[in-house]
Subunit: 716 residues, 2 copies
């Protein structure tokens, strides 16, 4: 026993004095690489990373206009270590700090207290980092963000690991006698991460607000995308094996029934072979593709083509791509190495000739996520000719496909808008919207809200429903997302599939068409300022606790502020959207501080409180903030060049201004200054509201004939 004790003492003496912090070094080489954005290099980072691969250029000019931000963290608390071929990172956390982000999660928006392994793959029902866009960027309620620029499967312990060298230590609790207070995950005071690479570039993104941190992160990667105007209309993806005549008949049916449609999406059947792909038109189903596309163009309807990356041996470009692809096949198709210019050159050349030149507007790029649980993808062991490893390529694949297709259109000074199943950091400026095969409506909305933290876009596409109520609710929600779409690939559903709710469905699609100027301005703010179009309430300064609690209402409101709000969100600056899920007879809606008004009636709804509503089927509840302007055009079923009058709906009583954006809607000329911001200004003289519409001298609008203000709220 004595001998034993002695041997322990010897061992203790042999251990380094600080056995706990061994190897962890403070990260000291921070550089302000962009206004309010600092980066540091730890170890020897990979030669390829998100920002290099995307090639997106920081919007320095826009970043310069933002409020000043100091380095937001205690530098002495940011630690790193490389050992064993891996890089370990530690960032500090305050006890009252909330964390958001890490990409497209479906179950919760608050990520603190959870562990993630960021791995692109089809979402399988668990928020563990396995998803279509596991972006390694998180933002804090304290108004900063952290971004790990590494295309690897990164492990993130978000406030879940408790280090013995931490200053704040949770207390041990006896579960036997104090089960009530025992917690599964004692709160840690840090975010620990592991990057399986010899080194890494990390970014700390300043605020001062959480929205500023998100905006800075988006601007770092080139700002958000600005879709062409037609992209904000209604999309109909027809069943996979439809022929060109069946598609034409479907379009005729939209006209006959007076339903809007702007884009027709063709699913795999347009190709001569698919899974793997030839990218060539099938001559039986589409004997005259150019004529078909042109006929739709004449009706102001664009055509979008489905594809995936895996190249069929029957494809005309297969031979050229053989030396430019990975050493594993998927469904017997090649996996092109998209990091190589030669690869994208071969493909772009073919796509230009056979798709773009006949008028194709864009793509839906499927299956770049993979589903390792189902057992298919190229494995991490895959060699690519560029030397990029299988795991790096997996994390980059969807983004690289976005990049080369965007470039192809950009070279024609033509904007595109499309869909992609995998994305990641660095892709904010690429005009693609994420989707997947999962289909929980509430979870789809959580994903929509989460997209706002991570520089990605998401569509809760409608595919099918078991009843009319669900159909309406899904259609209503998707019309307040970046891409309003019915995807009938396999369901064969039509917007009018449920007879009893045709009016409700048509109404919300038409409302989206009327809101086009509002949506477009919202996207312009994404492109120019990095402010995401869809926004979690947690990005709003108004969504904060009340210091003074005067009544039950106040405490209820404060309780909601700390909850994970997964069923309401903002679109743009002014519109609060409350999607309703089938079966909900009533809903508690939390309204941030400030007066809010019903969009439809203009009536006062509440202020910093939780209201209970009983939604009717015909409307998705929408609220406008005090002073909010919602510009609306008359209903049109397609997006055209026709100039239209604008109704400027004004809500509430606050002086305000709204900078309505306009440009040609389809080219990149706006990047050369060819755009206009029309100031919609409201002032007050006594109790009287004075509205003015100011087009800067010498500028013009592309889309509007006239402006008419409409006060939606009765005078006090």
């Amino acid at each position: 026993m004595l001998i034993f004790r002695r041997s322990i003492k010897v061992l203790i003496a042999l251990l380094p004095i600080c056995s706990f912090c061994r190897g962890q070094n403070q990260v000291s080489n921070w550089h302000e690489v962009q206004p309010g954005i600092w980066s540091a290099i730890i170890g020897k980072p990979d030669s390829i990373d998100f920002l290099k691969a995307s090639g997106a250029k920081p919007q320095t000019a826009a970043l310069k206009t933002m409020p000043a931000a100091a380095f937001p963290l205690d530098k002495s608390q940011i630690m790193a270590e490389t050992r064993d071929g891996r890089t370990y990172l530690k960032f500090p956390l305050q006890p009252d700090e909330k964390l958001f982000g890490l990409g497209l999660n479906f179950k919760r928006t608050q990520i603190r207290g959870n562990v993630y392994r960021l791995h692109i793959e089809h979402y399988n029902g668990i928020d563990d980092g396995t998803t279509h866009a596991p972006v390694p960027f998180y933002v804090s309620s304290k108004g900063y963000g952290v971004f790990i620029n590494a295309a690897r499967y990164i492990d993130v312990w978000a406030g879940t690991s408790v280090r013995r060298d931490s200053k704040t230590q949770p207390q041990a609790i006896d579960m036997n006698t104090n089960k009530k207070n025992w917690v599964t995950v004692p709160s840690g005071d840090n975010v620990e991460m592991m990057v399986p690479a010899q080194g890494v570039e990390v970014y700390v993104v300043g605020g001062p607000t959480i929205m500023d941190a998100v905006s800075r992160y988006n601007l770092l990667q080139g700002g958000g995308c600005l879709p062409p105007k037609w992209g904000l209309g209604f999309w109909d993806r027809t069943p996979s094996l439809y022929t060109q005549d069946q598609v034409a008949a479907e379009v005729a049916e939209f006209k006959k029934r007076d339903f809007p449609v702007s884009v027709i999406g063709l699913e795999p059947g347009w190709q001569s072979r698919a899974y793997p792909c030839t990218y060539a038109w099938d001559s039986t189903r589409f004997p005259q593709p150019a004529k078909f596309v042109q006929a739709l163009a004449a009706s102001n309807i664009k055509v979008n083509l489905w594809l995936h990356a895996w190249v069929s041996p029957q494809s005309a470009i297969y031979k050229s791509l053989e030396p430019l692809s990975g050493d594993h096949t998927i469904w017997a198709g090649l996996a092109p190495d998209f990091t190589l210019k030669s690869t994208t050159g071969v493909i772009s050349n073919y796509f230009r000739k056979t798709h773009l030149d006949i008028g194709i507007s864009g793509y839906k790029m499927d299956e770049n996520d993979g589903n390792v649980n189902e057992g298919w993808y190229y494995p991490d062991m895959t060699h690519f000719p560029s030397g990029t490893t299988g795991d790096q390529m997996h994390q980059l694949y969807g983004m690289l496909m976005q990049k080369f297709t965007t470039t192809m259109f950009r070279e024609r000074n033509q904007r595109t808008y499309g869909l992609v199943r995998a994305s990641n950091a660095g892709a904010a400026s690429f005009p693609y919207v994420l989707y997947d095969d999962y289909y929980s409506h509430p979870d789809f909305i959580t994903a929509l809200i989460n997209s706002s933290f991570s520089g990605i876009l998401w569509t809760p596409e409608a595919r099918s429903s078991k009843d009319a109520e669900d159909w309406v609710r899904r259609m209503q929600a998707v019309c307040f997302s970046p891409l309003a779409m019915l995807n009938a690939w396999s369901s064969g559903a039509k917007p009018w599939s449920f007879d009893t709710v045709n009016k409700e469905v048509a109404d919300v699609i038409k409302l989206r068409m009327q809101l086009l100027p509002y949506f477009y301005t919202t996207f312009a703010d994404y492109a120019f300022k990095g402010v995401p179009p869809v926004r979690s309430l947690n990005l709003l300064p108004e969504f904060s606790v009340k210091e003074e609690v005067n009544n039950k209402k106040d405490s209820l409101y404060n309780a909601f502020v700390s909850k994970d709000i997964k069923n309401e969100f903002m679109v743009g600056d002014n519109l609060l959207v409350v999607p309703i899920f089938a079966g909900e007879k009533s809903r508690d809606v939390v309204l941030p501080k400030g007066n809010w008004y019903d969009f439809y009636t203009g009536h006062y709804a509440g202020n910093g409180e939780v209201i209970s509503i009983e939604p009717t089927l015909d409307k998705i509840p929408l609220y406008v903030k005090d002073g909010g302007v919602i510009p609306m055009i008359p209903v049109r079923n397609q997006v055209t060049d026709e100039k239209l009058p604008v109704e400027l709906r004004y809500y509430g009583h606050q002086p305000s201004s709204f900078e309505l954006y306009d440009d040609d809607g389809k080219t990149f000329d706006y990047e050369k200054g060819k755009y206009v911001r029309i100031s919609l200004i409201t002032t007050k003289k006594g109790n009287k509201l004075l509205h003015s519409t100011v087009i800067p001298r010498g500028q013009k609008s592309w889309s509007f004939t006239s402006f008419k203000w409409r006060d939606m709220t009765e005078e006090k």
Copy 2:
């Protein structure tokens, strides 16, 4: 266009000629390290691995008695590569080869066509390698196994990746026109693996049969465990906060109701504090632990103690363990570094004094799996004093706890038997049975079957049920597992919880008590020969297709042979168990080739065919193979030293022999030869069966007074 083509050609010229096999080298340094077992070193393996950590010694003598085995694979097809701090491996596969193993999976036994990341963690409902015992060993229907001796999170693509340099290439199929034949996962002709380490030791394990490969693998790690006889009785784990008086009352209730019980398990409430643990008796609930344990011992009932690894600040050994633990806490408790002798020394010393010395028989070691999805465990970033990394430690933790506790008992020449929630390769000789919080009955049985491929044991413990039928079915199944247990930690359930089925439940527990000699012999075969006690049908040579198909029955049988059989299994050589799940009114039972007989009646049941049965609630269907002997003793409610008469039930008509095993049932003296194999031999003279019972001259049995043969099957 021309220019563009030229640049591709230049690029092609610059690529290495064999761009696909770049870096992959044939593994050439194979050494036959044990009879029929070859190992090779690739790169620079970790300093700690499964076999080193477990310290288990190969059973060379037993391996020498096995049939000769040649190296079972084409060596030129085994490739490896180390790059980027990782090791990549490739093993060949034949098109008609089935794969099994990779540890404790719950949804399927056939692993080919799936991808796994072997990561110890609470099973979450998906067979993706995340489980309590993700053993990196697979066996093939071709009669060999592959074992990766690396305590890392290993990625396994089991016949799912298709390499372009493979000889067999799946055809591209057009899903548009040939959906019926299109498959999600085209069959690959290899197993590819990635080990996140600079190198690795790999083993190829010969057959010639699949069962031989499993046995060799088990013998490599010291053979299977031989539990003490009492361990094979019935276990009752009482509610967590029971006092010693409540436990005593429960034992009295077992007696009064005439239900067997051999072991009482105490859950966290026996400790003064738990979650984290003090390992000290709670003085309010257990004021006189020694007296309590001794009183139960007097009734031939053992006591097993729950614990987990995380040490409470209130524990007497906390201070000593501070320098011997990782730099992260769990539930504010220390995570001891069990790779250090000093650590296990401190703990063993305390356990001996406070547990073993007063008669505690063993442990249930909980929570060493972790649940990263819930957000708790020490993260991979954790530093341990020994230099073992967090991920290595995670893969080893449960095994290391088994090792030190086994050693503690072995030092007293005392066998233990207990439960553990995490295990891995190298632990076959440790007398621990896996369990978890998951509770699907069918999936529990799949896990039981899977345990047979991987040198692990599993109990489908009964905890609670929503109805009497489920209760009976669970009790019946658990009585044919390595550990027959009711776990009432939180449910408070009793064996007699469902009044209407008390007889059925008591019957099956008593049947298990009667079968003790059979179970014990089965475990002896595990210990001496490496043959697992529970066995998948796929381990039997009789479970193979019929070459000649004469009728519908034959084709149905052949169809079942290729199916994933997850609802029947063998216990030992002779007994086919068909656990029934609640709600099943009928069941198709596949009987391997050879005659099979009903255990209860001795009637002929079938031969190489699928029979349909309508199980009654009172019995779990059991079948005995032709010539099978089932030794049975009279019903006793405890396992004691009392010598008992044995009934030798004989089924069918085939000449056979069965080597009944016996020893003192509690010490390791059997390792020094103090055991007996009693030959139960049946020969045939004309149509007449002749039975003989041969005890080798000069030897004795410890447990039996007399033997009486009973022919269960009527003469033909």
